[in-house]
């Protein structure tokens, strides 16, 4: 017997309970198979209609709000690329003071949510995000990470993984794709003493949904780092968005974990990891990689997994098993 759907702001036991109401309309012009919109749909379901969305410049903004159209059924604002954290700070502060002064209803929680890409978060918007987190604004900041600047046509960002081809880390005589290791945004966010931070992944909808609810209920800033496959920029068949997302978890490339008031927890243990080769072989952006590069990427993943195992104090993500 299926469980009943829940209202907004409530955790679920299985995906049958995810509410039916939609706050983002179809008809937007996101690419086929865009991971972002799976994540956005569910976050808005979790948040409900009493939500204000701040959306720095990026794919999501451009594909949802070309005048005279908008896909957003909740109040939505876009200001610029690098200031999502600051705009959200202003919205949150205004809600607070206007509720105090009785201009907005005092007894209704109004959620403030940022949807920002990796460019708008890890690079150009980094300072503004840091300010928002450090000041303790009650905002849910969702980093929709597709690991490059996709809106302007696949340029590398501080979140582009080792080995990945982008138009600014091309494969040439001297360069063979990105050669550096991406930033660890969860650790950066946690360093701001915020109550809640978590990684999410659309291939794991129940885990994703419950983390969204926890983030919305947090008493201060919450940071959700969402893994969001991009068929266009990563060069894979749009039908495989969820499969790629799932492989990221099964290879340990993307660990689903959370930081909840000082406690780290891995939510989706992977006792036997698939080799990273499984993850990269279905993406065109890694096609050029040499055996040596693949080995290096495997080492980077191993190290990342080890860091998280240390954080939780036990081996929750196991070794690679062919």
């Amino acid at each position: 017997m299926a469980l009943k759907e829940v209202g907004p702001m409530q955790e679920i036991r299985n995906h049958m309970q995810i509410p039916r109401d939609e706050y983002i309309a179809g008809g937007h012009s996101a690419c086929q198979g865009c991971g972002h919109f799976v994540i956005i749909r569910h976050l808005l379901k979790a948040a409900g209609p009493n939500t204000i969305v701040v959306n720095p410049t990026g794919c999501v903004e451009v594909v949802t709000t070309v005048f005279p159209y908008s896909s957003w059924k909740v109040p939505w604002i876009h200001v610029a690329f690098e200031n999502g954290g600051a705009v959200a700070s202003g919205v949150e502060a205004a809600v607070k003071v206007l509720q105090r002064k009785g201009v907005l209803p005092k007894d209704e929680q109004i959620n403030v949510v940022v949807f920002a890409g990796d460019g708008g978060t890890v690079d150009i918007g980094f300072q503004s995000l840091s300010g928002m987190l450090e000041r303790g604004h009650k905002v849910v900041y969702v980093l929709l990470d597709n690991e490059a600047y996709m809106n302007t046509g696949i340029q590398r960002s501080g979140s582009t993984p080792f080995g990945a081809w982008t138009t600014t880390t091309p494969v040439g005589k001297r360069w063979k794709g990105e050669w550096r290791v991406r930033k660890d945004m969860i650790q950066i966010a946690v360093a701001h003493h915020i109550p809640y931070a978590a990684t999410i992944n659309p291939a794991y909808p129940v885990d994703m949904y419950n983390k969204m609810v926890k983030a919305l209920k947090a008493e201060g800033p919450a940071f959700l780092h969402a893994y969001s496959p991009c068929p266009t920029g990563w060069r894979f068949d749009p039908a495989k968005t969820i499969e790629v997302a799932r492989l990221a978890v099964l290879t340990g490339y993307w660990v689903l974990y959370e930081y909840d008031h000082g406690q780290y927890k891995v939510n989706v243990p992977v006792l036997k990891r698939k080799p990273i080769r499984e993850f990269i072989k279905i993406q065109g952006r890694f096609r050029h990689m040499t055996e040596e590069q693949i080995k290096k990427l495997q080492e980077i993943v191993d190290e990342y997994v080890e860091t998280i195992n240390k954080l939780v104090g036990k081996t929750v993500i196991g070794p690679v098993a062919e």
Binding site: A2, H15, M16, I18, R20, E22, I24, A25, G26, G27, H28, S29, A30, Q32, G33, C34, G35, H36, F37, V38, R41, H42, T64, T65, F67, P68, Y69, S70, S71, W72, K73, P75, W76, P202, P205, P231, D237, P238, A239, K240, T241, I242, E243
Partner: protein
């Protein structure tokens, strides 16, 4: 034929706001598709994963007392772009991937 006249500056809302937000619903993106998903209702177990994973909100959960388990799933072909996620993720192969014919 006369070209459609767009509203002038006097008729437009201040600051380029969209007041009837959600109105991309009126946009037909069916032309994006090369293939389309077709749900085979008899095979469908109502697991809901196609509805969960659709980036375009183009799988509709229809409450229908007469249907199996009181509901069924339909494709909103106006908003389906034919990405194929539903087809790829359906655990029981209840979605067929059919070439679009116009």
């Amino acid at each position: 034929m006369m070209e459609e006249r767009l509203p002038g500056w006097k008729e437009l809302p201040e600051g380029a706001v969209v007041r009837d937000a959600g109105n991309t619903e009126t946009i037909d993106v069916s032309g994006w598709r090369v293939f389309k998903p077709v749900i085979i209702d008899e095979k469908c177990t109502r697991c809901r994963l196609c509805w969960i994973y659709c980036p375009d909100g183009a799988i509709i959960e229809v409450i229908d007392e007469k249907a199996k388990m009181g509901k069924r799933y339909e494709v909103d072909y106006m908003h389906c772009k034919g990405c194929g996620i539903c087809y790829a993720e359906c655990p029981v192969n209840a979605i067929e991937w059919v070439p679009e014919e116009r």
